[in-house]
């Protein structure tokens, strides 16, 4: 050990572009893979979730109205920023999961590339998922896919960075805003990801990141009437039924996914609007 004492990072929440602590004042210990103390992460409360939803809802119309090109560029910039911090993220992954440096760097590279992949969908998906429909009559009829609104994410536990990116990127690319709950046992990658997002021109509130216990917060995600969709890929399978049932009250669109790179993950959180207009003079 050299003589210099490191300044340890404080891991906070990321809500509406700011880094507040949890309003509950609670924290919980994050230990490294080998059992050493790493950090006290915020133990987010339902009120933090509530505040994040308010921020996400406020940000959503503006984000959806941005051009697809603009959204794609911003998500590409998130990739640029993450690439620049590869070492930082690789170190954090290794500490949390015990992966080797090489494996961790590999995970970061995959996360960057996945962001780039999703960024490229923003201005293409409507050309594929939309359509003009040949109805029987003098009408112009077209279907456009539209962003759903505010989507919650219960982030997966394995691959704490890659899994997180795979969950949030497809949600954001189409114009949704999101509140993501980091993996309970290995939240540091998700929380640090806020640093990347904050330097990427992503408007405040578009992505909000909480750390805390799945068991405490997942039911609140599910029951919140102003959340429109949920990605529960990070939730244990035996929990899916309960959560889905709780989400029925406002007919949340709830999905979990096996594949990470799939346009279906984007479409799962979109609506389809069909328009008719007469043709004639």
């Amino acid at each position: 050990m050299s003589g210099r004492l490191e300044v340890m990072k404080t891991y906070k929440l990321y809500i509406n572009g700011a880094f507040p602590r949890t309003e509950s004042g609670r924290s919980y210990e994050i230990k490294s893979h080998s059992g050493e103390f790493l950090a006290n992460a915020c133990l987010a409360s339902r009120k933090d979730l509530r505040d994040a939803v308010v921020a996400a809802r406020a940000a959503q119309p503006g984000w959806a109205k941005a051009t697809a090109y603009n959204r794609g560029q911003i998500i590409y910039r998130i990739a640029e920023m993450l690439e620049g911090r590869a070492d930082q993220f690789a170190q954090e992954i290794s500490l949390q999961t015990g992966a080797t440096a090489k494996e961790s760097l590999q995970e970061v590279s995959e996360a960057v590339d996945l962001l780039v992949w999703y960024a490229g969908w923003s201005d293409k998906l409507p050309s594929l998922a939309g359509a003009t429909n040949p109805v029987s009559g003098p009408f112009y009829n077209f279907t456009v896919p539209e962003a759903l609104g505010v989507v919650g994410v219960i982030a997966p536990i394995e691959k704490p960075l890659f899994g997180f990116v795979a969950a949030i990127a497809p949600i954001l690319v189409s114009g949704n805003t999101a509140i993501a709950l980091a993996s309970s046992s290995a939240p540091l990658s998700a929380i640090s990801f806020a640093e990347v997002v904050a330097t990427s021109d992503l408007p405040n509130g578009v992505l909000n990141i909480l750390s805390g216990q799945q068991s405490e917060l997942a039911p609140w995600f599910a029951s919140h009437m102003d959340i429109d969709g949920l990605d529960i890929s990070g939730l244990a399978v035996d929990q899916h039924g309960t959560i889905k049932e709780a989400g029925v009250e406002n007919l949340k669109r709830i999905s979990s996914f096996a594949q990470t790179a799939e346009p279906g993950r984007i479409l799962a959180f979109m609506e389809a609007k069909t328009v008719w207009h007469p043709i004639g003079n």
Partner: protein, 478 residues
Amino acid sequence: MNFEYAAAPESRSVVKIDPVYGHFINGKWVTGTSHFNSINPATEEVLSSIALGTSADVDAAVKAARNAFDKSWSKLSGRERGKYLFRIARIMQERAREFAVLETLDNGKPIRESRDVDVPLSAAHFFYHAGWADKLEFAGVGTTTTPHGVVGQIIPWNFPLLMLAWKVAPALATGNTVVLKPAETTSLTALLFAQVCQQAGLPEGVVNIVTGDGSTGAAIVNHPGIDKIAFTGSTDVGKLIARAVSATNKSLTLELGGKGANIVFGDAAIDETVEGIVNGIFFNQGHVCCAGSRLILQENIADEVLEKLKRRMEKIRVGDPLDKNTDLGAINSAEQLAKIHELTAAGDTEGAARWSPNCALPDKGFWFAPTIFTGVTQAHRIAREEIFGPVLSVLTFRTPNEAIEKANNTPFGLSAGIWSEKGSNILWATQQLRAGVIWANTFNKFDPASPFGGYKESGWGREGGRHGLSAYLKGSAK
């Protein structure tokens, strides 16, 4: 009180033009054997000396492209190819000002247009197509995701950098390698683009740029090592190329001329319509294949629109393209200026009434005042032939059917405009019009996601969007 705008010139110092250029082959600069001058059409000053590509130069380029295709480019995953294109897009954005000034110097178009339209759209094309490189299986253009191999691309002088982007971006995204020939009078931004390829670390030979004239283009068209040709230019040359490759297996797409009809109905939003008419024919000095060069006015508002149009034309600022307040720049070459003079003289002879606002034209350089001809009929040369200059031919119609008939009565079919506040009328007109791009209540709008191309003699195939990708994949229907 007169509000005169003082000169507001964009500085040239951001751009460094070499006195002589070679070709960009296999990632390196190759000296040319003979050269020709490239001038600034606004001042007639010589900007640089450009290499005249010979058959040997073309051969070297095709070999480099083939080698790059076989050894490096086709070995890369779509994901990696895409990342090169993202890099190119970003670097173009970073060097935007340099590109804009250079384009204005070389082409003569106003700096406001190169800055606000050409350069941003060019970067956007690369950004858009970068995202397709690893998604070809979703593009739904057929069952193939195989590129052709080496593509030869010949582009025109009216949007030099943008036409380069329209060609190179989809070609690379789909896995092809490229031999590109910029137009004789506008090579400089293509040569600057070669620097961008180097900065992006693009593997050698993936993009090759051979400058030259029609003979260089012919060498590319006829080279047996080229799998596909993409050409944008005049209909006459397009037909020459089509004949030349008809007995070969080469795939060919063409983006040719137009004589776009801009139809104004009596219920149009008048002020925005006048803007749209002006934009339709005076944007880029009218050097636009999809220009709204025939104004087809409903008789019941013709007088009102014409009066407003003339008043609006008085405000068009013609002059130094580098001045940020210039609206109309220089005609690209003495040759093009002569063509415009020839056709407008025909307009006079054939009995149409010519009108231009009073504007002082500079003594040096190639200039033509914005002009309208009224009393034009379908039989007039200025109603049938593409003038490719800031000249608008005005016709009238009484009923919607008549408007459509006149609009469609042309061997071209690239673009059309419709101005009406009635939605059903617009949709009806779009159904009837035989044109590949139809603008309703707007004009000259381009986007990498929006397919562009013409019916009839305006060409073969589309560029942009999913539809534009198919041309660069082997075995696709179109």
